[in-house]
């Protein structure tokens, strides 16, 4: 019974934890501009993140090594520093966006301008990381994030033209919008990069150490990943579908968080909005925690500092100092007045460096019997892993030219 509860909890938190501000807005932007013609990218990215998150969790449980320690060991200091710089910048930009996202969600709930919420949100994130146990922070934000299921329900209540939605799923470069193929592919690469963003793997593998997983817990972690992540992706897809049903026909191209919520208002009115806003706050807050922790994990694991929430802050002092500094920098970026949502767009460039340099060492170590004993990758996992590494490489090479050609998808 306890085992079943643990599995259910794991799955639920994986669903709730899958969606962050980038997913909320990007899904909605893409849905309102391209309909569901980019849904296949989401499916592809979800398979990829499931594969590598599971692999990194297995490495962590069996060898006790978190992902960035492995990156350092296998890539050597120089390449690892390149990855650290790129990953850390992505983390910082994502953190900026997430804190901004909390503030935007709070604005929706209160009408108080986001500028006043930035410091409150950053402080709240810090205090939770400082004082709350890992399992509690993971489970509570994950469960509250489930409020976003309202988007999945709304898809049905909006009575869409199912055959039209279905044909969008199968059509490539969308027929009834004026977007150029380059813009389409730019968003395809950006969506793929966002689905496979390295911080999720850093967080997942370090979380396995925080919760002291052993090889016997692997079955449960596999269920969490294989059920939770895809269901989370369905939430993303629902958000895109809601935008495609309500906003695309009206010619509204989403640029702000409140527009993401408008289809819910249309479907369920005020009650639905309250649930959706609760989901926004939980999802952005949960993601802020994950990203802040990831910044600490990557730095500490690269330099070999003590890290982890299972230690008292004074026993992982540089880890906590790094997280405080990250929050301060993110707050500083927000206070310059940039649009928090657009901040994430720059991170596409850094993903091009970070993605291959993160997933290659995981794949190599997952095959090393010195680390893994009997738990080395099977043949099928290796073949799929190599295919994804290929896709990641192509996406990485294409990312920067596409960004320049399309003016970042304008």
């Amino acid at each position: 019974m306890k085992g079943l509860f643990a599995v259910a909890l794991g799955v639920l938190t994986a669903i709730g934890g899958f969606v962050d501000i980038g997913d909320l807005v990007t899904s909605s932007v893409v849905g309102s501009r391209f309909g569901l013609t980019l849904a296949w990218v989401l499916v592809l990215g979800t398979v990829g993140i499931c594969l590598f998150a599971q692999m990194s969790g297995r490495v962590a449980a069996v060898s006790g090594r978190a992902t960035f320690e492995i990156i350092r060991e296998r890539l050597g200091a120089r390449l690892a520093v390149a990855n650290l710089s790129a990953s850390f910048l992505i983390n910082l930009l994502t953190l900026t966006a997430e804190i901004g996202g909390i503030a935007l969600a709070m604005q929706l709930a209160s009408s108080i301008s986001p500028g006043l919420w930035f410091p409150v949100a950053a402080f709240a994130v810090w205090i939770v990381i400082w004082r709350v146990r890992f399992s509690i922070l993971e489970n509570v934000t994950g469960l509250l994030g489930l409020a976003l299921v309202v988007f999945a329900v709304a898809v049905f209540f909006l009575h869409p033209d199912w055959s039209a939605l279905g044909s969008q799923l199968l059509q490539q470069p969308s027929p009834h919008t004026d977007e150029s193929p380059a813009t389409y592919w730019y968003y395809a690469v950006a969506l793929f990069g966002a689905a496979m963003t390295p911080y999720e793997v850093f967080f997942f593998s370090s979380g396995a150490i925080e919760e002291k997983w052993k090889p016997k817990d692997l079955a449960q972690s596999r269920v969490n990943v294989l059920v939770g992540f895809p269901l989370g992706a369905i939430l993303s897809l629902s958000i895109a579908a809601c935008a495609a049903i309500v906003l695309l026909p009206k010619g509204i191209a989403v640029t702000s968080l409140y527009e993401t919520a408008l289809p819910i208002a249309q479907a369920f009115g005020k009650i639905g909005l309250i649930v959706a806003i609760l989901g926004f706050v939980a999802a952005t807050f949960g993601a802020s925690l994950e990203v802040t922790l990831s910044s600490g994990y990557t730095l500490a694991q690269f330099f070999g500092w003590p890290w982890g929430k299972f230690r008292r802050p004074a026993h992982a002092s540089r880890f906590h100092a790094a997280m405080i500094l990250s929050l301060v920098v993110a707050l500083g970026i927000l206070l310059t007045g940039v649009d928090p949502v657009q901040v994430t767009e720059i991170s596409v460039v850094f993903s091009a460096i970070a993605l291959p340099l993160t997933y290659l060492p995981i794949l190599i170590v997952a095959n090393d019997p010195k680390y893994m004993g009997d738990h080395v990758n099977g043949r099928v996992t290796n073949v799929v892993g190599l295919i994804f590494l290929g896709i990641i490489l192509v996406a990485s090479i294409a990312a920067i030219p596409l960004m320049i050609v399309t003016g970042a998808g304008a």
């Binding site: 296998r74 050597g76 290659l360 794949l363 190599i364 095959n367 090393d368 019997p369 080395v376 990758n377 043949r379 290796n382 073949v383 892993g385 190599l386």
Partner: protein, 114 residues
């Protein structure tokens, strides 16, 4: 001397022919006890003719998965060899020179046949 001084240094035969670059140093823990372990002496140098560094050591370990990566990295490290310390004549100006008649050995780690 630090390890980085050795790594990357070119290796020349006694005749001045370039064999490659030092990509690793093989240590053996068979000296007199030094604290908790035996002293670790430099047993030899791993030399690669085509690359300045080794990546993931596929040419030395018995690991061959994932096949495509293993094959590529072995190709990159093709022709790698081990030269023993006893066969080194000098290490000056960041160049390692071998003694006449130095033997080239396989770089494989024998304990790694897993």
């Amino acid at each position: 001397m630090i390890l980085s001084d050795l790594l990357g240094s070119p290796v020349l035969t006694a005749d001045g022919e370039r064999l490659g670059a030092v990509v690793d140093a093989r240590l053996v823990l068979d000296g007199p006890p030094d604290g908790m372990l035996a002293a670790a002496r430099v047993y030899g140098l791993v030399v690669s003719p085509h690359s300045h560094s080794s990546f993931a050591g596929y040419e030395r370990t018995g690991v061959d998965a994932p096949a495509l990566i293993a094959r590529f990295l072995r190709w990159r490290a093709r022709g790698s060899m081990l030269v023993l310390w006893a066969d080194l004549a000098s290490f000056t100006d960041d160049v390692v020179r071998l003694r006449p008649g130095a033997t080239l050995y396989s770089p494989r780690l024998s304990g790694d046949s897993a």
